[in-house]
Symmetry: C2
Subunit: 111 residues, 2 copies
């Protein structure tokens, strides 16, 4: 993942609705969920959901496929992991405290 992709992914995630979207899609796994079900699950209008899904897909964090009249969306766990790897390694140069706090969030004081 390069800087441009990381910025796109961060921009995509920096939104409450889209964070909810990830939280819903990640556990759904590769089978994903149809747009209508996502809209009902999050209480969003169709056009609003479509806007946010497009933003997420444009950033490479989710992917879509058509299944008859439904469009199924699924998270791309690899892209999410790659973003975190970018933040950890490229941005923070694998700083030990960042890494420790990331892996063991309960430890240590508040920074």
């Amino acid at each position: 993942m390069d800087r441009t992709q990381a910025l796109a992914a961060l921009s995509a995630l920096a939104n409450e609705t889209r964070l909810d979207l990830i939280r819903l899609l990640v556990p759904a796994g590769p089978d994903g969920l149809p747009a209508g079900e996502i809209a009902r699950g999050l209480g969003l209008s169709a056009s609003r959901l479509s806007f946010h899904l497009a933003a997420m897909e444009g950033a490479g964090l989710i992917r879509s496929r058509r299944a008859s009249r439904h469009v199924i969306y699924a998270a791309c766990p690899g892209a999410l992991g790659a973003l975190m790897a970018y933040l950890l390694r490229d941005c923070c140069q694998a700083h030990p405290e960042v890494q420790a706090r990331c892996l063991h969030p309960g430890d240590g004081g508040g920074d």
Copy 2:
């Protein structure tokens, strides 16, 4: 780290200038760097730098202290780690593929 803090941190990081800022400040460690040196290092005007520093500090990703006529800024590695822990655990529910790609970015195919 709760959702509101995570959104603030993601919004702060979703900007090229501020990503550069982190990249500069993390290796500088707890000693940090004075604003003027950061401005020279990144080639930013004083007001533009101040705007972005305030955004980062508001999100809790950096902290400042006054040292005579200088203001010194330093990264908060704990906050960066906490953001990643939030993404990994709360958002992705510690999804194994996300975690694996985060820790071993070289492995596996493109997602």
